[in-house]
């Protein structure tokens, strides 16, 4: 912070700044990293931000146990290594983990179903923070509940740690389809929609007019290849989060760079073919259909 600036005249933590931060991430790839050397690889490959965490979702899934916010030492090490924004995950409802992450200086907090939920009733009141939040959603109602709580960015939940893109696709279709179906609805009809999807009426009206979410919408949860990333972009995502897909692949440097380029030229099959060549084996993955519903991470949160 430069000295001798009149702090009184500066407004921090406004919705415009939080949503604006998310807008700067558009067309980009946010990569999960567990240490400084991975963060460096992600930055070199052209990631727009890194998500600092203790274990990637695939390991959380296989090792089990309670998954919590990452150790601050690790987060600081990553912040000090890269120049791009650093995000980190807090448990659903765990506002103290969020307070700690804000004080560490992370640029965005992911209130994430990938970690073990901390509150059986409530999500974090995100309006209480200066740092912006991203939250997962499976459908329009869930997305708008999170926006109402102050989320500055939404991502599809998908099914993290699987390398199977089907759930991210399902959630993206659900959100985009619900938005399209609002077109031409009367006020009375929208009152009913708001009640049915358990979302604030004002946000339903706003989405109907904008024909998109009022905040940036990324895809996440199962993206493992450049083609997966481009698929989500063609389905209307503003960008992608790649979790286990990079550092669980055989050649992370190549995979990371290929996914970055695929997101920029998501609608150009020639470029997608070129970047898909020689990227090595993607993560082997698990079919979501083989995971019992009670073991699926996407059903955490409400």
């Amino acid at each position: 912070m430069p000295k001798n600036i009149d702090l009184e005249k500066m407004r921090h933590g406004t919705a415009l700044l939080k949503r604006g931060f998310a807008k700067m991430q558009k067309g980009g790839v946010v990569m999960d990293v567990t240490d400084a050397s991975q963060a460096k690889i992600a930055e070199e490959a052209g990631a727009v931000a890194v998500m600092a965490l203790e274990r990637v979702p695939a390991d959380i899934r296989s090792q089990g146990g309670v998954a919590r916010m990452a150790d601050p030492t690790k987060i600081i090490e990553i912040i000090e290594t890269v120049s791009i924004p650093v995000m980190a995950k807090a448990r659903i409802g765990h506002f103290v983990e969020a307070q700690i992450l804000e004080s560490l200086g992370v640029d965005m907090i992911d209130e994430s179903e990938v970690l073990t939920p901390a509150d059986p009733h409530y999500h974090i009141d995100k309006t209480m923070f200066k740092v912006p939040f991203v939250c997962g959603a499976r459908n329009l109602g869930e997305a708008l509940r999170r926006v109402h709580e102050g989320a500055a960015m939404i991502r599809t939940k998908g099914e993290a740690g699987t390398g199977d893109v089907i759930e991210a696709v399902r959630h993206q279709h659900a959100i985009m389809g619900a938005i399209r179906s609002l077109k031409g609805k009367t006020k009375q009809e929208m009152f009913t929609v708001a009640r049915e999807i358990q979302a604030p009426y004002e946000l339903v009206v706003e989405v109907a007019e904008l024909q998109r979410l009022p905040v940036v919408n990324f895809a996440a949860g199962g993206i493992a290849t450049p083609a997966d990333a481009a698929l989500m972009m063609q389905l209307g995502s503003d960008g992608v989060f790649v979790g286990s897909g990079i550092f669980k692949s055989k050649k992370p440097e190549f995979m990371a760079k290929a996914i970055v380029e695929a997101v920029t030229h998501y609608d150009d099959p020639g470029t997608l073919a070129r970047v898909s060549k020689g990227i090595g084996d993607p993560m082997s993955g698990i079919n979501v259909a083989d995971i019992p519903v009670e073991k699926q991470l996407q059903n955490r949160g409400w």
Partner: protein, 206 residues
């Protein structure tokens, strides 16, 4: 400001480098400014060299400067962009775009080996205010416009200008807007406000 030329000519085509960042917001802001000025204009999403055909000026959007810089090289836009700047095409860079236009960066820029376009005689500190929680809104003073709503998101600061490059916008004595002939660099985000005066000023450079 002179618009007489374009009032009688074909549509003014302005490109927005659309590799990463808030591209759509710049396209919307350009459209609002065209409308306010009553000129026929088109804002074009530019991702490849052929998209630059008949483009008369450009915007380098906000986003991540490391990412945009890499993609400019990968997709062959870097040299053409520099040629256009040399040929006198008006170019606006905001936030990340401001960093990329600079001739010199700070330690962060060099640490990440970000290749700058080096088109403007200024040195820029990347992310000069700290993490996102320090991002802020505040009014800035712009020559010819007066007070303007500045939206600073992990913003850079212009530390030094020399040669033909002049600071034309300040916030509490700090340089946040600079102009060098046909080039304009803002450390804040005029595209995120509804106030079209900034874009009208940029279109006045055509």
């Amino acid at each position: 400001m002179q618009f007489a030329l374009h009032l009688t000519m074909d549509t003014l085509r302005v490109g927005v480098i659309g590799l990463q960042g808030d591209v759509f917001e710049h396209i919307s802001a350009l459209r609002r400014a065209f409308e306010d000025l009553g000129i026929k204009g088109e804002a074009v999403w530019v991702r490849r060299p052929p998209d630059l055909e008949r483009i008369e000026g450009l915007v380098l959007p906000g986003g991540e400067s490391t990412t945009i810089s890499k993609l400019l090289s990968t997709f062959g836009l870097r040299d053409i962009l520099k040629e256009m700047a040399g040929g006198g095409a008006p170019i606006l860079g905001t936030c990340a775009g401001c960093v990329l236009l600079a001739r010199e960066g700070d330690a962060l820029v060099y640490k990440t080996r970000t290749e700058l376009l080096a088109l403007m005689d200024m040195s820029v500190d990347r992310n000069a205010f700290g993490p996102q929680r320090e991002s802020f809104e505040a009014n800035v003073d712009i020559e010819g416009l007066g007070s303007y709503p500045g939206v600073f998101i992990r913003a850079p600061l212009i530390k030094r200008v020399w040669g033909d490059c002049k600071a034309i916008g300040t916030f509490h004595g700090k340089m946040v807007l600079a102009r060098q002939k046909n080039l304009l660099a803002a450390s804040f985000h005029p595209e995120l406000t509804d106030d079209t005066r900034f874009y009208r000023m940029f279109l006045g450079m055509f």
